[in-house]
């Protein structure tokens, strides 16, 4: 079977997903992902020339909410599952080269 997803691609996807993989895992996932892609490729047999791209699989549109406030969690509830906290804040390892800001 040809390698659809080579090791370089696996490493790239791992980097994007912030995953640390060993060389063995990279080889293993390259094979597995290639198998998956090959399997999925069966869909290419379908003729989709006159089919509109699907934005959502449910035939439902316009689910909207009125702009009315609802109670939020308390600070303690919000932080209950946090691995670490600092007073009212979540405490997180600092992101190097932080370019956050959506």
């Amino acid at each position: 079977m040809t390698t659809k997803i080579d090791e370089a691609q696996v490493r790239r996807v791992a980097l994007l997903g912030r995953l640390e993989l060993s060389d063995e895992e990279v080889a293993q996932f390259s094979g597995q992902l290639s198998d998956i892609v090959t399997y999925i490729e069966k869909l290419n047999e379908l003729d989709t020339d006159n089919v509109e791209p699907l934005a959502h699989c449910l035939p439902v549109h316009n689910v909207l909410r009125e702009d009315v406030p609802k109670p939020s969690l308390t600070n303690d509830q919000a932080l209950a599952n946090a691995p670490a906290r600092e007073n009212e804040y979540f405490k997180m390892p600092k992101v190097l080269g932080d370019n956050s800001g959506a």
Binding site: N62, G101, A102
Partner: protein, 488 residues
Amino acid sequence: MADLDYKVIVGLEIHVHLATKTKIFCGCELAYGDTANTHVCPVCLGMPGSLPVMNKTALEYSILTGLALNCEIAKFTKWDRKSYYYPDLPKNYQISQYDLPFSEHGYIEIPLESGETKKIRILRAHLEEDAGKNTHTLGNFSAIDLNRAGTPLLEIVTEPDMNSAEEVGALARELQRIVRYLGVSEGDMQKGHMRFEPNINLHITKNGEVFKTPISEVKNLNSFRAVERSVAYEVRRQLAAFEETGVTMQMGNKATYGWDDDKQMTVLQREKEEAHDYRYFPDPDLVPVDIDDAWLGEIKGRLCELPIQMQVRFAKEYGLSDYDAGVLTADRATAEFFDGTVKLGADAKRVCNLLTQTGLKLANEKGVSVDQLRISMENLAKLAKMADGGDVSASAATTIFEEMAENGGDPAQIAEAKNLVQKSDAGEIEALVDAVLAENAKAVEDAKNNPKKGKKAMGFLMGQVMQKSKGQANPKIVSQLLNQKLNV
């Protein structure tokens, strides 16, 4: 080195916080400056199993803004996930819009120094969620507040149609005016309601050839001054860099900069764009939205006359200076109050003076808008007409305005009660003039025959008549009578 011929090219990305009561996908109230992590719930904390539901008002505010920016509004729009690995947005993705934004292809008209306007094309506007805040660092750790996470954020992207720092500043200010007029955002820069990201480069002509410098993107600017200064700085920096190295734009040499307000310079953050791979895909948690004609029509009904249109109209139709028209249209309440008063038949310049010289000051002191002073448009129009007709002097009109602002009331009654009615009865004034002329032979002589002292003597006689009338004689008529009687 010889001065280079160059053109500045700037496009702008703007993020605007919408002034809804609640977040975009959950019922948490928007709150600025409250205790950290007290306006959060499973949805905006990104807890597994929680489901976002679109805030209808946020979408309508967005569409309204799109309409004001002359955009085409899509009949069908959807939301996508954009991969984002920072702790200030804990889902690990931002809900945004990718290939089917709700609006595209518009323009915004900005005022130029010359009094003309310029159209800047809008590429698109889409609706997304804001991230939370990395508030401060604790050694190798960050403290995260997610109160802001999920704030509805309108992202507006312009085409690179601006050609100077001033034009970029004008667009930023104009957009603030628009969102405030529409009531879709407070546009408060201090609270981070508007953030700007200019993309800047130069087209330099040298020896008949055009060279394009690498594009710089300056991130997260939150004041008009910083926007203007960062663009001006980048122009200087890119010129110097080109002269030194001759480097030009190539694939992938766009760089990201921050703005250091203390040093007043841009600071390199990221040299090469690591090929961005946001891996957008449709968000399965949110269903698409159809915007039909009825709904769109209803939202269109909420549009108002835009500030730039009012400014141009005030200058053109009412003959105001561009400066005055700008002051009056800075906020919608003032603009509409002014316009309404003038439409009641009052003189535009007179109303403008009363509002800009007295009204705005009083309103500012009281922390209200001018229409919330205790003056109706009818009474302001009446006062303006009284001043124009010479029933009260300009200074008396100011006094009456102040009294009306404080205690309300009818300007004619106030003028009466405060003895501010100007006497315009020529017969009555003539008697006063005659008396003054008889009492001041020397001044009369000077006024008539002494070219050196004539003007001063005339002023003296004028003052005497005004004094005799206890300041109530119409100075225009006094002056006419004096000129007549002294033959000057």
